[in-house]
Protein backbone atom coordinates (compact mmCIF):
# COMPACT_ATOMS: atom_id res chain seq x y z
CA UNK A 1 0.00 0.00 0.00
CA UNK A 2 1.32 3.43 -0.88
CA UNK A 3 1.31 5.62 2.23
CA UNK A 4 -0.93 8.65 2.04
CA UNK A 5 0.41 12.15 1.73
CA UNK A 6 0.46 14.08 5.00
CA UNK A 7 1.51 17.41 3.57
CA UNK A 8 1.29 18.48 -0.01
CA UNK A 9 2.95 21.70 -1.12
CA UNK A 10 1.65 22.92 -4.46
CA UNK A 11 3.30 25.63 -6.52
CA UNK A 12 4.54 27.64 -3.56
CA UNK A 13 5.98 31.06 -4.41
CA UNK A 14 7.54 33.24 -1.72
CA UNK A 15 9.17 36.62 -2.26
CA UNK A 16 11.11 38.76 0.18
CA UNK A 17 10.65 42.49 -0.20
CA UNK A 18 14.01 43.99 0.76
CA UNK A 19 15.59 47.38 0.15
CA UNK A 20 17.74 45.80 -2.57
CA UNK A 21 14.70 44.57 -4.45
CA UNK A 22 12.40 41.59 -4.48
CA UNK A 23 14.21 38.39 -3.58
CA UNK A 24 12.48 35.54 -5.38
CA UNK A 25 13.28 33.02 -2.69
CA UNK A 26 10.84 30.22 -3.47
CA UNK A 27 10.02 29.74 -7.09
CA UNK A 28 7.09 27.37 -7.42
CA UNK A 29 7.93 24.49 -5.11
CA UNK A 30 5.98 21.22 -5.23
CA UNK A 31 6.59 18.71 -2.51
CA UNK A 32 4.85 15.84 -0.81
CA UNK A 33 5.61 14.39 2.59
CA UNK A 34 4.01 11.05 3.31
CA UNK A 35 2.68 9.71 6.58
CA UNK A 36 5.38 8.27 8.81
CA UNK A 37 8.31 9.09 6.57
CA UNK A 38 11.60 10.79 7.24
CA UNK A 39 11.93 13.32 4.46
CA UNK A 40 15.23 15.14 3.90
CA UNK A 41 15.41 18.54 2.24
CA UNK A 42 18.96 19.36 1.18
CA UNK A 43 20.55 22.32 -0.49
CA UNK A 44 23.08 25.08 -0.08
CA UNK A 45 22.69 27.93 2.38
CA UNK A 46 20.11 30.38 1.11
CA UNK A 47 18.38 28.02 -1.31
CA UNK A 48 15.07 28.30 0.52
CA UNK A 49 15.00 25.14 2.64
CA UNK A 50 14.23 26.87 5.90
CA UNK A 51 11.73 29.25 4.33
CA UNK A 52 9.87 26.26 2.92
CA UNK A 53 9.87 24.74 6.40
CA UNK A 54 8.49 27.85 8.07
CA UNK A 55 5.90 28.26 5.31
CA UNK A 56 4.38 24.94 6.39
CA UNK A 57 3.59 26.62 9.72
CA UNK A 58 2.60 29.81 7.91
CA UNK A 59 5.38 31.60 9.79
CA UNK A 60 7.42 33.03 6.95
CA UNK A 61 9.74 35.60 8.54
CA UNK A 62 9.48 39.28 7.63
CA UNK A 63 9.76 40.76 5.01
CA UNK A 64 8.75 37.55 3.24
CA UNK A 65 5.37 37.14 1.64
CA UNK A 66 3.67 34.03 0.33
CA UNK A 67 2.56 35.05 -3.14
CA UNK A 68 0.94 31.92 -4.39
CA UNK A 69 0.43 28.26 -3.78
CA UNK A 70 -1.19 25.99 -1.27
CA UNK A 71 -0.03 23.73 1.51
CA UNK A 72 -2.53 20.95 2.00
CA UNK A 73 -2.28 19.34 5.42
CA UNK A 74 -4.77 16.56 6.18
CA UNK A 75 -7.03 17.83 3.44
CA UNK A 76 -6.99 21.51 4.45
CA UNK A 77 -5.01 24.38 2.99
CA UNK A 78 -2.94 25.88 5.80
CA UNK A 79 -2.21 29.04 3.86
CA UNK A 80 -5.88 29.94 3.42
CA UNK A 81 -6.77 29.16 7.04
CA UNK A 82 -7.46 31.88 9.57
CA UNK A 83 -4.33 32.93 11.53
CA UNK A 84 -5.97 32.07 14.86
CA UNK A 85 -7.02 28.70 13.50
CA UNK A 86 -3.49 27.90 12.38
CA UNK A 87 -2.22 28.84 15.82
CA UNK A 88 -4.86 26.88 17.68
CA UNK A 89 -5.06 23.76 15.54
CA UNK A 90 -1.80 23.40 13.65
CA UNK A 91 1.16 24.93 15.44
CA UNK A 92 2.15 22.97 18.49
CA UNK A 93 -0.61 20.44 17.88
CA UNK A 94 -0.11 18.89 14.46
CA UNK A 95 3.16 20.43 13.30
CA UNK A 96 6.11 21.63 15.35
CA UNK A 97 9.62 22.73 14.60
CA UNK A 98 13.07 22.10 16.06
CA UNK A 99 15.55 24.90 15.62
CA UNK A 100 19.18 24.99 14.66
CA UNK A 101 20.62 26.50 17.85
CA UNK A 102 19.02 24.58 20.69
CA UNK A 103 20.22 26.82 23.52
CA UNK A 104 18.95 29.95 21.78
CA UNK A 105 15.65 28.23 21.08
CA UNK A 106 14.91 27.66 24.76
CA UNK A 107 13.46 30.46 26.83
CA UNK A 108 16.35 31.66 29.03
CA UNK A 109 14.12 32.63 31.96
CA UNK A 110 12.30 29.31 32.24
CA UNK A 111 13.64 26.15 33.81
CA UNK A 112 14.00 23.24 31.40
CA UNK A 113 11.12 21.38 32.98
CA UNK A 114 8.88 24.44 32.75
CA UNK A 115 9.61 24.81 29.03
CA UNK A 116 8.02 21.42 28.50
CA UNK A 117 5.15 22.02 30.92
CA UNK A 118 4.47 25.24 29.06
CA UNK A 119 4.13 23.28 25.82
CA UNK A 120 1.79 20.85 27.57
CA UNK A 121 -0.26 23.51 29.34
CA UNK A 122 -2.91 23.57 26.64
CA UNK A 123 -3.56 19.89 27.11
CA UNK A 124 -3.49 18.96 30.77
CA UNK A 125 -3.39 20.17 34.35
CA UNK A 126 -0.18 21.50 35.83
CA UNK A 127 0.50 18.49 38.00
CA UNK A 128 0.00 16.04 35.16
CA UNK A 129 2.13 18.19 32.88
CA UNK A 130 5.00 18.15 35.38
CA UNK A 131 4.92 14.37 35.56
CA UNK A 132 4.73 14.06 31.81
CA UNK A 133 7.66 16.47 31.39
CA UNK A 134 9.91 14.22 33.47
CA UNK A 135 8.77 11.19 31.47
CA UNK A 136 9.56 12.98 28.23
CA UNK A 137 13.00 13.96 29.45
CA UNK A 138 13.59 10.30 30.28
CA UNK A 139 12.38 9.34 26.84
CA UNK A 140 14.99 11.53 25.15
CA UNK A 141 17.71 9.81 27.22
CA UNK A 142 18.48 12.60 29.64
CA UNK A 143 20.25 11.27 32.73
CA UNK A 144 18.82 12.58 36.03
CA UNK A 145 15.75 14.16 34.43
CA UNK A 146 14.56 15.65 37.74
CA UNK A 147 17.81 17.55 38.16
CA UNK A 148 17.91 18.77 34.55
CA UNK A 149 14.27 19.85 34.77
CA UNK A 150 15.26 22.14 37.63
CA UNK A 151 18.11 23.79 35.75
CA UNK A 152 18.07 26.65 33.28
CA UNK A 153 18.93 26.29 29.58
CA UNK A 154 22.31 28.01 29.89
CA UNK A 155 23.43 25.25 32.23
CA UNK A 156 23.05 22.65 29.48
CA UNK A 157 25.41 21.49 26.75
CA UNK A 158 24.26 21.84 23.15
CA UNK A 159 23.38 18.16 22.85
CA UNK A 160 21.39 18.22 26.09
CA UNK A 161 19.58 21.37 25.06
CA UNK A 162 18.64 19.79 21.74
CA UNK A 163 17.22 16.81 23.64
CA UNK A 164 15.16 19.13 25.83
CA UNK A 165 13.99 20.85 22.66
CA UNK A 166 13.01 17.51 21.12
CA UNK A 167 11.22 16.52 24.32
CA UNK A 168 9.37 19.83 24.23
CA UNK A 169 8.27 19.29 20.65
CA UNK A 170 7.32 15.67 21.28
CA UNK A 171 5.23 16.80 24.22
CA UNK A 172 2.73 18.13 21.73
CA UNK A 173 2.55 14.80 19.89
CA UNK A 174 2.78 16.31 16.41
CA UNK A 175 2.11 14.38 13.23
CA UNK A 176 4.82 16.36 11.46
CA UNK A 177 8.07 17.51 12.99
CA UNK A 178 10.09 20.03 11.04
CA UNK A 179 13.74 19.77 12.07
CA UNK A 180 15.65 22.75 10.74
CA UNK A 181 19.34 21.80 10.82
CA UNK A 182 18.88 20.12 14.19
CA UNK A 183 22.47 18.93 14.45
CA UNK A 184 24.46 21.69 12.78
CA UNK A 185 25.44 23.29 16.07
CA UNK A 186 26.44 19.98 17.68
CA UNK A 187 29.59 17.83 17.80
CA UNK A 188 29.74 14.96 15.35
CA UNK A 189 29.37 12.27 18.01
CA UNK A 190 26.39 14.06 19.56
CA UNK A 191 24.93 14.54 16.07
CA UNK A 192 24.68 10.79 15.59
CA UNK A 193 23.05 10.33 18.99
CA UNK A 194 20.49 13.04 18.41
CA UNK A 195 19.65 11.75 14.94
CA UNK A 196 19.17 8.16 16.01
CA UNK A 197 17.09 9.38 18.94
CA UNK A 198 14.96 11.35 16.54
CA UNK A 199 14.53 8.29 14.30
CA UNK A 200 13.55 6.13 17.25
CA UNK A 201 11.02 8.57 18.57
CA UNK A 202 9.47 9.15 15.20
CA UNK A 203 8.91 5.43 14.75
CA UNK A 204 7.41 5.15 18.21
CA UNK A 205 5.14 8.16 17.81
CA UNK A 206 4.31 7.40 14.17
CA UNK A 207 5.06 10.93 13.06
CA UNK A 208 6.67 12.28 9.90
CA UNK A 209 9.82 14.36 9.86
CA UNK A 210 10.93 17.05 7.49
CA UNK A 211 14.68 17.21 8.05
CA UNK A 212 16.22 20.36 6.65
CA UNK A 213 19.98 20.13 6.26
CA UNK A 214 22.92 20.90 4.02
CA UNK A 215 24.68 17.71 5.02
CA UNK A 216 24.12 14.88 2.54
CA UNK A 217 25.74 12.31 4.81
CA UNK A 218 23.08 12.94 7.46
CA UNK A 219 20.41 12.50 4.83
CA UNK A 220 21.97 9.28 3.58
CA UNK A 221 21.95 7.81 7.07
CA UNK A 222 18.56 8.84 8.29
CA UNK A 223 16.07 9.70 5.57
CA UNK A 224 13.62 7.65 3.55
CA UNK A 225 13.19 10.16 0.77
CA UNK A 226 15.12 13.25 -0.24
CA UNK A 227 14.35 16.50 -2.01
CA UNK A 228 17.20 18.54 -3.42
CA UNK A 229 16.71 22.29 -3.56
CA UNK A 230 18.60 24.81 -5.59
CA UNK A 231 17.94 28.57 -5.58
CA UNK A 232 14.29 28.27 -4.68
CA UNK A 233 13.50 25.27 -6.87
CA UNK A 234 13.12 21.62 -6.02
CA UNK A 235 15.40 20.07 -8.62
CA UNK A 236 15.16 16.42 -7.72
CA UNK A 237 13.12 14.19 -5.44
CA UNK A 238 13.59 10.50 -4.84
CA UNK A 239 14.30 7.71 -2.43
CA UNK A 240 17.63 8.00 -0.67
CA UNK A 241 19.45 5.32 -2.65
CA UNK A 242 18.07 6.64 -5.91
CA UNK A 243 19.45 10.09 -5.14
CA UNK A 244 22.78 8.84 -3.80
CA UNK A 245 23.49 6.12 -6.34
CA UNK A 246 21.69 7.37 -9.36
CA UNK A 247 21.38 11.14 -9.26
CA UNK A 248 19.82 12.54 -12.43
CA UNK A 249 19.89 16.30 -12.05
CA UNK A 250 23.29 17.86 -12.86
CA UNK A 251 23.17 19.77 -9.55
CA UNK A 252 22.67 16.61 -7.51
CA UNK A 253 25.42 14.93 -9.52
CA UNK A 254 27.67 17.86 -8.66
CA UNK A 255 26.80 17.62 -4.96
CA UNK A 256 27.64 13.92 -4.94
CA UNK A 257 31.00 14.54 -6.56
CA UNK A 258 31.78 17.13 -3.89
CA UNK A 259 31.53 14.56 -1.06
CA UNK A 260 34.82 12.98 -0.03
CA UNK A 261 34.92 9.18 -0.26
CA UNK A 262 37.49 6.36 -0.44
CA UNK A 263 37.06 5.68 -4.12
CA UNK A 264 37.51 9.29 -5.09
CA UNK A 265 40.93 10.89 -4.97
CA UNK A 266 39.96 14.40 -5.95
CA UNK A 267 37.02 16.46 -4.85
CA UNK A 268 35.21 18.26 -7.61
CA UNK A 269 33.28 21.34 -6.60
CA UNK A 270 30.43 22.92 -8.55
CA UNK A 271 31.83 25.89 -10.43
CA UNK A 272 30.44 29.37 -9.97
CA UNK A 273 28.38 30.45 -6.98
CA UNK A 274 24.78 30.67 -5.88
CA UNK A 275 22.87 33.18 -8.04
CA UNK A 276 21.55 36.46 -6.70
CA UNK A 277 17.86 35.82 -6.22
CA UNK A 278 16.94 39.45 -6.81
CA UNK A 279 17.87 38.85 -10.44
CA UNK A 280 17.76 35.09 -10.83
CA UNK A 281 19.01 33.64 -14.12
CA UNK A 282 16.18 33.14 -16.64
CA UNK A 283 15.03 29.65 -17.55
CA UNK A 284 16.58 26.99 -15.38
CA UNK A 285 18.17 28.74 -12.41
CA UNK A 286 21.06 26.30 -12.45
CA UNK A 287 22.09 26.85 -16.08
CA UNK A 288 25.01 29.28 -15.49
CA UNK A 289 26.75 26.63 -13.38
CA UNK A 290 25.69 23.57 -15.32
CA UNK A 291 28.10 21.54 -17.51
CA UNK A 292 25.32 20.47 -19.86
CA UNK A 293 23.65 23.79 -20.61
CA UNK A 294 21.73 23.94 -23.86
CA UNK A 295 19.93 26.93 -25.39
CA UNK A 296 16.56 25.83 -24.08
CA UNK A 297 17.86 25.91 -20.49
CA UNK A 298 18.34 29.69 -20.75
CA UNK A 299 14.81 30.26 -21.97
CA UNK A 300 12.39 27.96 -20.20
CA UNK A 301 12.05 26.57 -16.73
CA UNK A 302 12.26 22.78 -16.99
CA UNK A 303 9.23 20.76 -15.96
CA UNK A 304 9.45 18.05 -13.38
CA UNK A 305 10.03 14.71 -15.11
CA UNK A 306 9.15 11.32 -13.73
CA UNK A 307 12.32 9.18 -13.99
CA UNK A 308 11.36 5.91 -12.35
CA UNK A 309 8.90 5.16 -9.61
CA UNK A 310 9.17 7.79 -6.88
CA UNK A 311 12.03 9.59 -8.60
CA UNK A 312 11.56 12.96 -10.29
CA UNK A 313 13.95 15.57 -11.60
CA UNK A 314 13.46 18.99 -13.12
CA UNK A 315 15.91 19.08 -16.03
CA UNK A 316 15.68 19.10 -19.82
CA UNK A 317 18.35 16.38 -19.87
CA UNK A 318 15.84 14.03 -18.35
CA UNK A 319 13.31 14.61 -21.09
CA UNK A 320 13.66 10.96 -22.15
CA UNK A 321 11.49 10.09 -19.17
CA UNK A 322 7.80 10.72 -18.90
CA UNK A 323 6.63 14.20 -18.14
CA UNK A 324 5.12 14.36 -14.67
Amino acid sequence: MIPEALVEINDLVINFYTYRGVVKAINGVNLEIKKGEFFGLVGETGCGKSVTGSAILNLVPNPGRIEKGEIIFKGKDILSMDEDDVRERIRGKEITMIMQHPIAALNPVLKNGDQITEALSRKMSEGAAKKRAIELLKEVNIPEPEKIANQYPHQLSGGMAQRVMIAMMLATEPSLLIADEPTTALDVSIQAQVLSLLQDLIKRHKASVLLITHDLSIVAETCDRVGVMYAGDIVEVGEVDQIINNPRHPYTVGLMRAIPSDSRKELVGIRGSVPDLVNPPPGCRFHPRCDYTRDICKERKPKTMQMESNHTAACFLCEGGRSG
Binding site: L57, L59, R87, E88, I90, R91, G92, K93, T96, M97, M99, Q100, H101, A104, A105, L106, N107, P108, V109, L110, E118, A119, R122, N150, Q151, Y152, Q155, M165, M168, M169, T172, I178
Partner: protein, 299 residues
Protein backbone atom coordinates in the same frame (compact mmCIF):
# COMPACT_ATOMS: atom_id res chain seq x y z
CA UNK B 1 14.33 16.00 63.25
CA UNK B 2 15.61 13.85 60.38
CA UNK B 3 12.53 14.79 58.42
CA UNK B 4 13.25 18.46 58.86
CA UNK B 5 16.82 17.98 57.75
CA UNK B 6 15.84 16.11 54.59
CA UNK B 7 13.21 18.73 53.82
CA UNK B 8 15.83 21.45 54.14
CA UNK B 9 18.37 19.64 52.00
CA UNK B 10 15.81 18.84 49.30
CA UNK B 11 14.72 22.49 49.33
CA UNK B 12 18.37 23.45 48.92
CA UNK B 13 18.71 21.02 46.03
CA UNK B 14 15.65 22.31 44.25
CA UNK B 15 16.64 25.94 44.66
CA UNK B 16 20.36 25.57 44.19
CA UNK B 17 20.54 28.13 41.38
CA UNK B 18 18.57 30.71 43.36
CA UNK B 19 20.80 30.18 46.38
CA UNK B 20 23.97 30.64 44.39
CA UNK B 21 22.51 33.75 42.73
CA UNK B 22 21.72 35.21 46.14
CA UNK B 23 25.24 34.44 47.37
CA UNK B 24 26.71 36.15 44.33
CA UNK B 25 24.60 39.26 44.91
CA UNK B 26 25.67 39.44 48.56
CA UNK B 27 29.29 39.01 47.50
CA UNK B 28 29.08 41.76 44.86
CA UNK B 29 27.35 44.10 47.30
CA UNK B 30 30.07 43.59 49.91
CA UNK B 31 32.68 44.72 47.40
CA UNK B 32 31.02 48.08 46.83
CA UNK B 33 31.06 50.32 49.94
CA UNK B 34 28.98 53.04 48.27
CA UNK B 35 26.18 50.57 47.62
CA UNK B 36 26.25 49.62 51.29
CA UNK B 37 26.06 53.29 52.30
CA UNK B 38 23.09 53.74 49.94
CA UNK B 39 21.44 50.56 51.16
CA UNK B 40 21.84 51.57 54.82
CA UNK B 41 20.39 55.01 54.16
CA UNK B 42 17.41 53.53 52.34
CA UNK B 43 16.83 50.90 55.01
CA UNK B 44 17.02 53.61 57.67
CA UNK B 45 14.50 55.76 55.75
CA UNK B 46 12.11 52.88 55.36
CA UNK B 47 12.37 52.00 59.07
CA UNK B 48 11.82 55.62 60.05
CA UNK B 49 8.78 55.80 57.80
CA UNK B 50 7.28 52.63 59.21
CA UNK B 51 7.98 53.52 62.83
CA UNK B 52 7.21 57.25 62.51
CA UNK B 53 4.38 57.43 65.10
CA UNK B 54 6.47 55.55 67.68
CA UNK B 55 9.82 57.28 67.30
CA UNK B 56 8.81 60.89 66.73
CA UNK B 57 9.13 62.75 70.02
CA UNK B 58 6.20 65.15 69.43
CA UNK B 59 3.04 65.52 67.38
CA UNK B 60 4.15 66.85 63.96
CA UNK B 61 1.10 69.05 63.54
CA UNK B 62 0.44 70.31 67.08
CA UNK B 63 1.26 74.02 67.34
CA UNK B 64 2.86 75.59 70.38
CA UNK B 65 2.97 79.27 69.62
CA UNK B 66 4.61 80.06 72.97
CA UNK B 67 7.62 78.04 71.86
CA UNK B 68 8.02 79.18 68.23
CA UNK B 69 11.39 79.20 66.49
CA UNK B 70 13.14 77.59 69.46
CA UNK B 71 16.75 76.64 68.76
CA UNK B 72 17.81 72.97 68.95
CA UNK B 73 17.76 71.75 72.54
CA UNK B 74 17.27 68.52 74.46
CA UNK B 75 13.48 68.71 74.30
CA UNK B 76 13.43 69.72 70.62
CA UNK B 77 16.54 68.12 69.09
CA UNK B 78 16.26 70.00 65.81
CA UNK B 79 14.42 73.02 67.16
CA UNK B 80 10.89 74.20 66.34
CA UNK B 81 9.44 76.11 63.41
CA UNK B 82 7.48 79.35 63.15
CA UNK B 83 4.37 77.70 64.66
CA UNK B 84 6.27 75.95 67.42
CA UNK B 85 6.06 72.49 65.82
CA UNK B 86 8.90 70.08 66.53
CA UNK B 87 11.08 69.94 63.37
CA UNK B 88 12.46 66.44 64.06
CA UNK B 89 8.94 65.02 64.34
CA UNK B 90 7.95 66.75 61.14
CA UNK B 91 10.97 65.38 59.32
CA UNK B 92 10.28 61.88 60.63
CA UNK B 93 6.68 62.05 59.43
CA UNK B 94 7.84 63.68 56.19
CA UNK B 95 9.72 60.46 55.40
CA UNK B 96 6.36 58.74 55.12
CA UNK B 97 5.06 61.33 52.69
CA UNK B 98 8.20 61.22 50.54
CA UNK B 99 8.34 57.43 50.34
CA UNK B 100 4.61 57.20 49.71
CA UNK B 101 4.85 59.59 46.76
CA UNK B 102 7.79 57.64 45.36
CA UNK B 103 6.12 54.26 45.72
CA UNK B 104 2.82 55.38 44.22
CA UNK B 105 4.46 57.17 41.29
CA UNK B 106 6.62 54.16 40.44
CA UNK B 107 3.74 51.74 40.96
CA UNK B 108 1.82 53.67 38.29
CA UNK B 109 4.71 54.40 35.96
CA UNK B 110 6.60 51.16 35.82
CA UNK B 111 3.70 48.89 34.76
CA UNK B 112 2.20 51.55 32.49
CA UNK B 113 5.45 52.41 30.73
CA UNK B 114 6.58 48.82 30.38
CA UNK B 115 3.19 47.72 29.07
CA UNK B 116 3.01 50.50 26.47
CA UNK B 117 6.64 49.92 25.48
CA UNK B 118 6.20 46.19 24.98
CA UNK B 119 3.02 46.67 23.00
CA UNK B 120 4.73 49.27 20.79
CA UNK B 121 7.78 47.10 20.26
CA UNK B 122 5.99 43.83 19.71
CA UNK B 123 3.26 44.95 17.35
CA UNK B 124 5.14 47.72 15.58
CA UNK B 125 3.49 49.64 12.77
CA UNK B 126 0.97 52.34 13.60
CA UNK B 127 0.56 51.15 17.22
CA UNK B 128 4.26 51.78 17.71
CA UNK B 129 4.04 55.15 15.94
CA UNK B 130 1.21 56.42 18.12
CA UNK B 131 2.65 55.30 21.44
CA UNK B 132 6.18 56.42 20.77
CA UNK B 133 5.23 59.81 19.31
CA UNK B 134 3.20 60.44 22.47
CA UNK B 135 6.27 59.47 24.46
CA UNK B 136 8.35 61.87 22.37
CA UNK B 137 5.99 64.73 23.14
CA UNK B 138 6.42 64.14 26.88
CA UNK B 139 10.15 63.71 26.58
CA UNK B 140 10.54 66.94 24.63
CA UNK B 141 10.13 68.97 27.84
CA UNK B 142 12.38 68.93 30.90
CA UNK B 143 10.76 66.65 33.43
CA UNK B 144 10.50 69.10 36.32
CA UNK B 145 9.05 71.89 34.17
CA UNK B 146 6.49 69.61 32.58
CA UNK B 147 5.52 68.18 35.97
CA UNK B 148 5.11 71.74 37.28
CA UNK B 149 2.94 72.72 34.34
CA UNK B 150 0.69 69.70 34.74
CA UNK B 151 0.61 70.11 38.51
CA UNK B 152 -0.36 73.77 38.16
CA UNK B 153 -3.08 72.90 35.66
CA UNK B 154 -4.53 70.21 37.93
CA UNK B 155 -4.35 72.41 41.01
CA UNK B 156 -2.01 72.16 43.98
CA UNK B 157 -2.40 68.96 46.01
CA UNK B 158 -0.39 65.89 46.88
CA UNK B 159 -2.44 63.58 44.65
CA UNK B 160 -2.09 65.91 41.69
CA UNK B 161 1.66 66.04 42.26
CA UNK B 162 1.81 62.28 41.99
CA UNK B 163 -0.29 62.31 38.83
CA UNK B 164 1.88 65.03 37.32
CA UNK B 165 5.13 63.21 38.04
CA UNK B 166 3.69 59.91 36.82
CA UNK B 167 2.61 61.47 33.52
CA UNK B 168 6.09 62.82 32.89
CA UNK B 169 7.94 59.64 33.72
CA UNK B 170 6.32 56.76 31.82
CA UNK B 171 7.97 57.53 28.46
CA UNK B 172 11.41 56.62 29.80
CA UNK B 173 10.18 53.15 30.72
CA UNK B 174 8.22 52.79 27.50
CA UNK B 175 11.31 53.53 25.43
CA UNK B 176 13.45 51.15 27.41
CA UNK B 177 10.90 48.33 27.24
CA UNK B 178 10.31 48.93 23.53
CA UNK B 179 14.02 48.70 22.76
CA UNK B 180 14.36 45.48 24.72
CA UNK B 181 11.27 44.02 23.08
CA UNK B 182 12.55 44.79 19.60
CA UNK B 183 15.65 42.70 20.21
CA UNK B 184 13.96 39.96 22.23
CA UNK B 185 11.20 39.33 19.71
CA UNK B 186 13.74 38.41 17.01
CA UNK B 187 15.35 35.73 19.17
CA UNK B 188 15.08 32.07 18.29
CA UNK B 189 13.09 30.98 21.32
CA UNK B 190 10.29 33.36 20.41
CA UNK B 191 10.22 31.69 17.01
CA UNK B 192 10.15 28.32 18.74
CA UNK B 193 7.23 29.47 20.88
CA UNK B 194 5.37 30.66 17.80
CA UNK B 195 5.99 27.28 16.20
CA UNK B 196 4.39 25.75 19.29
CA UNK B 197 1.28 27.85 18.72
CA UNK B 198 1.75 30.03 21.80
CA UNK B 199 -0.59 33.00 21.76
CA UNK B 200 0.71 36.56 21.52
CA UNK B 201 -0.47 37.44 25.01
CA UNK B 202 1.34 34.46 26.44
CA UNK B 203 4.55 35.20 24.55
CA UNK B 204 4.46 38.75 25.87
CA UNK B 205 3.73 37.73 29.46
CA UNK B 206 5.93 34.69 29.85
CA UNK B 207 8.87 35.52 27.61
CA UNK B 208 9.19 39.20 26.84
CA UNK B 209 8.07 40.72 30.15
CA UNK B 210 10.54 38.81 32.35
CA UNK B 211 13.41 39.70 30.03
CA UNK B 212 12.44 43.38 29.96
CA UNK B 213 11.93 43.58 33.69
CA UNK B 214 15.57 43.62 34.78
CA UNK B 215 16.53 46.73 32.80
CA UNK B 216 13.34 48.59 33.62
CA UNK B 217 13.54 47.79 37.32
CA UNK B 218 17.12 49.02 37.43
CA UNK B 219 15.96 52.17 35.69
CA UNK B 220 13.23 52.54 38.31
CA UNK B 221 15.70 52.29 41.19
CA UNK B 222 17.77 55.02 39.53
CA UNK B 223 14.62 57.14 39.30
CA UNK B 224 13.59 56.77 42.96
CA UNK B 225 15.81 59.65 44.06
CA UNK B 226 14.52 61.77 41.20
CA UNK B 227 10.90 61.29 42.20
CA UNK B 228 11.63 62.42 45.75
CA UNK B 229 13.56 65.43 44.43
CA UNK B 230 10.86 66.49 41.97
CA UNK B 231 8.09 66.02 44.54
CA UNK B 232 10.00 68.12 47.07
CA UNK B 233 10.67 70.72 44.39
CA UNK B 234 7.00 70.97 43.50
CA UNK B 235 5.98 71.27 47.14
CA UNK B 236 8.65 73.94 47.58
CA UNK B 237 6.98 75.92 44.80
CA UNK B 238 3.58 75.49 46.42
CA UNK B 239 2.24 73.05 43.83
CA UNK B 240 2.48 69.91 45.90
CA UNK B 241 1.64 69.10 49.50
CA UNK B 242 -0.34 71.78 51.31
CA UNK B 243 0.13 72.87 54.93
CA UNK B 244 0.01 71.44 57.51
CA UNK B 245 1.26 68.24 55.82
CA UNK B 246 4.77 67.56 57.08
CA UNK B 247 6.44 67.53 53.67
CA UNK B 248 10.15 68.29 53.30
CA UNK B 249 9.93 70.63 50.31
CA UNK B 250 7.11 72.54 51.92
CA UNK B 251 9.09 72.82 55.18
CA UNK B 252 12.08 74.28 53.32
CA UNK B 253 9.77 76.69 51.51
CA UNK B 254 8.10 78.08 54.65
CA UNK B 255 11.37 78.05 56.56
CA UNK B 256 13.49 79.90 54.02
CA UNK B 257 12.48 83.34 55.34
CA UNK B 258 14.08 82.38 58.69
CA UNK B 259 17.34 81.21 57.14
CA UNK B 260 19.45 84.12 58.48
CA UNK B 261 18.37 84.12 62.12
CA UNK B 262 16.84 80.68 62.66
CA UNK B 263 18.96 78.61 60.29
CA UNK B 264 17.68 75.26 61.63
CA UNK B 265 14.15 75.74 60.31
CA UNK B 266 14.90 75.25 56.58
CA UNK B 267 18.28 73.50 56.91
CA UNK B 268 17.27 70.22 58.55
CA UNK B 269 14.44 69.38 56.11
CA UNK B 270 16.90 70.24 53.33
CA UNK B 271 19.34 67.74 54.77
CA UNK B 272 16.59 65.13 54.87
CA UNK B 273 15.96 65.63 51.13
CA UNK B 274 19.70 65.46 50.47
CA UNK B 275 20.16 62.22 52.42
CA UNK B 276 17.12 60.53 50.89
CA UNK B 277 18.03 61.39 47.30
CA UNK B 278 21.67 60.53 47.94
CA UNK B 279 20.76 57.17 49.47
CA UNK B 280 18.42 56.16 46.66
CA UNK B 281 20.86 57.24 43.98
CA UNK B 282 23.73 55.30 45.52
CA UNK B 283 21.54 52.24 45.86
CA UNK B 284 20.29 52.61 42.28
CA UNK B 285 23.85 52.85 40.96
CA UNK B 286 24.81 49.84 43.02
CA UNK B 287 21.91 47.76 41.75
CA UNK B 288 22.76 48.75 38.19
CA UNK B 289 26.37 47.65 38.63
CA UNK B 290 25.48 44.41 40.38
CA UNK B 291 22.86 43.44 37.81
CA UNK B 292 25.25 44.09 34.93
CA UNK B 293 27.26 40.91 34.35
CA UNK B 294 29.89 42.77 32.32
CA UNK B 295 30.76 45.04 35.22
CA UNK B 296 30.68 42.15 37.65
CA UNK B 297 33.11 40.08 35.63
CA UNK B 298 35.48 43.02 35.39
CA UNK B 299 36.20 42.96 39.11
Amino acid sequence: MVDLRTTISSWKGRHSSEISDAKEIVHATKKSPLTIVGLSLVVALVLVAILAPYISPHDPIAMHLENRLASPSMSHLLGTDELGRDILSRIVHGTRVALLIMIIVLAIDLPLGVFLGIVAGYFGGWVDEIIMRMADIFMAFPRLILAMAIGAALGPSLVNTMIAIAITMWPAYARLARGETLSIKERTFIEAEKALGTSKARIILSSILPLCSSTTIVRATLDMGNVIRIAAGMSFLGLGAQPPTPEWGLMVATGRSFLINQWWVPTFPGFAILLAVFGFNLLGDGIRDISDPHLRRGE
